[in-house]
């Protein structure tokens, strides 16, 4: 069981016609081992959602994907056609999407939407799939799931819909769950519930998780390993337990510093990272973070640092 669940190398994602192609994600490599929870953190536009969608073969129409390696549970997906990819991923990769209000089909009953994968990939009968749905809804702590299974999404609250989304990801006991901001739309108590559920699943079923979030505190709490993305590149890769103490990249340090603490003096201004991320169409030749970096040198502006020993920075190593 040493084979990783997911292996991607040199993944680039770009948009637009050949002449004006804008690259959003640059040569990212990603490896998730069995039973591992990997977090991807970064601010809006850093390419973290696109990376997770590429990993689950759900890029939007018009996106171009380039990679040198893409394997799922040992199956090569690089040259696979649609049917082969479906056979490899169907029922084995669960995806939890970020917007619960729009990610469920308004015209279908919740139970029917949830049971699709179990019926097709798990070969469950209609009534078995239905009891599976009720079981999963109960596990995500939806009250009276026997009635709720026949509801339409508009009869669910936002929190319930997000939990139903997560239940959908759990229907077939997948080997990898890709969760894109699974708790961003939820209030704090529900967030904690959902994270607890993901951890529990990871511990009991050995399910690997790719967790995407802008919330570095949440990532540090749940994940084993953290990838920090900035402007479409991984700038740091670090064990979650070491995150607070041994994060080296100035961007990671700034992200950690910007998490407000309960003990902080409320009259003080919150720590923030000055400036905005660069336009993906006009990336600087050097390090993309240079303009916002406290450690910037002349070298940073002309020469781009590669990811070496878990960090992409000239000034730290």
């Amino acid at each position: 069981m040493t084979e990783p669940v997911l292996e991607i190398e040199d993944l680039s994602i770009s948009f637009g016609p050949a002449k004006h192609r804008v690259t959003i994600v640059h040569e990212i490599s990603l490896r998730i081992d069995r039973g591992e929870i990997v977090g991807v953190v970064g601010e809006s536009g850093s390419g973290k959602t696109l990376t997770s969608m590429a990993a689950s073969d759900l890029l939007p129409a018009g996106a171009h994907r380039d990679a040198t390696k893409w394997r799922f549970e040992g199956t090569d997906l690089m040259d696979a056609n649609r049917a082969q990819r479906a056979a490899a991923l169907g029922g084995k990769l669960g995806v939890v999407f970020q917007d619960p209000m729009s990610s469920l089909n308004p015209a279908r009953r919740v139970g029917s939407q949830l049971s699709d994968a179990a019926r097709f990939w798990g070969k469950r009968s209609r009534s078995d799939a239905r009891s599976d749905v009720i079981d999963r809804l109960r596990r995500v702590r939806i009250a009276s799931p026997e009635q709720r299974v026949d509801n339409y999404p508009h009869e669910f609250s936002g929190g319930m819909r997000q939990r139903a989304m997560i239940a959908m990801g759990l229907m077939t006991t997948p080997s990898l769950i890709v969760a894109d901001e699974p708790t961003t739309a939820l209030d704090v108590t529900v967030q904690a519930d959902v994270m607890e559920l993901i951890k529990e699943l990871n511990e009991t079923e050995g399910t690997s998780v790719l967790l995407v979030s802008h919330n570095i505190a949440l990532i540090a709490e749940v994940c084993h390993r953290v990838l920090v993305m900035y402007a479409g590149r991984i700038v740091e890769e670090v064990a979650a337990s070491d995150l607070a103490t041994s994060a080296r990249h100035p961007y990671t340090r700034a992200l950690i510093a910007s998490v407000p603490s309960v003990d902080a003096d409320p009259s003080q201004e919150l720590a923030a990272i000055g400036g905005v991320p660069p336009d993906p169409g006009h990336l600087p030749p050097g390090c993309a973070f240079a303009d916002r970096c406290p450690l910037v040198t002349d070298r940073c502006r002309v020469e781009r640092p590669e990811l070496v020993n878990g960090v992409a920075c000239w000034e730290v190593d």
């Binding site: 689950s56 759900l58 939007p60 129409a61 018009g62 990819r85 479906a86 991923l89 169907g90 029922g91 990769l93 669960g94 995806v95 999407f97 917007d99 729009s102 990610s103 469920l104 089909n105 308004p106 015209a107 279908r108 029917s112 939407q113 699709d116 994968a117 097709f120 990939w121 339409y152 508009h154 989304m165 959908m168």
Partner: protein, 318 residues
Amino acid sequence: MHWGRFLAQRLLRVVVVSIVLVTATFITVRMVPGDPALKAIGMQSDRTPAEQAKALKQARSDLHLDRPLPVQYLETLRSAVTFDFGKSFQTGQKVTQIISDRVGSTLRLALGGTIVMLVIGVPLGVVIGALTNGRRSGLEVGFSGISGFVGSIPPYVLSVIGIFLFAYTWSIFPRIPEGSLLDDVLPSLALGLGPAFLLARVVRVETLDVLQQDYVRTARSKWLPWTRLYARDVMPNVLTPALTIAGVLFSSLLGGAVVIEGIFGRNGLGATLINAVQLGDYPVVVAISLLFGFLVVIANTVVDILIAFIDPRTLVAA
């Protein structure tokens, strides 16, 4: 649980629309120039002016045209409620008889046109939508041009082209009705082709919209065969707006049916209606208008019910 209220609302709408329709028809037929009583008795040269005046008076009395307008209005309303429209001013035949003799032909044509519209319009729109999702801008431009062109050809022009090509040049279809189902093919195509392309345009845009929705991405994440993806997650959401548009197109389709019946030599309500308007044959005009109006309301009610079945959120709004 909202069904009772929903259906009651639709029924009330049928009643209100029918009243408005009767009133509007009542007013407009009386605005048409000419005296229906005079047209009914005709101009007979052997009558003396006194006899002519007497006959006219008699005709007015027979046709209830000498009564005050409010009384005539109430009589019209009553005839609409009881479905007894009396006799034609012109032929003296019972109006219900005139209609029942001809309505079948018109209904078959309208039904045929509707089937052509739906069977061509919906799949064409969905396929072109799926093919032009973020790519093939050439196909998109081509389809917009062709569908806009075909959609704007009036049905009578299509009828003439159709008859010329498929009944004269190649004798595939009969030139005049022969009493078989083949009679209905050409007129249905002429009637439904334009609306089909207009519908396809709307359906294409709706399909593109639905394909970009988050819930389709959710559905794609299940890796089901694409036939299931379209049948379960895409089509229900495309059909809701498509059926609404189809309901609207149905009323213009009905108008087109009235016009092209004559071209195909069909003995339908169209020619009867046009004649009746010209001759001021009030009961016939009111009855046929009411029938057509009723058909439009029924079609749209059927659409609403179908939509409520497909997308239950509409019931909540009711």
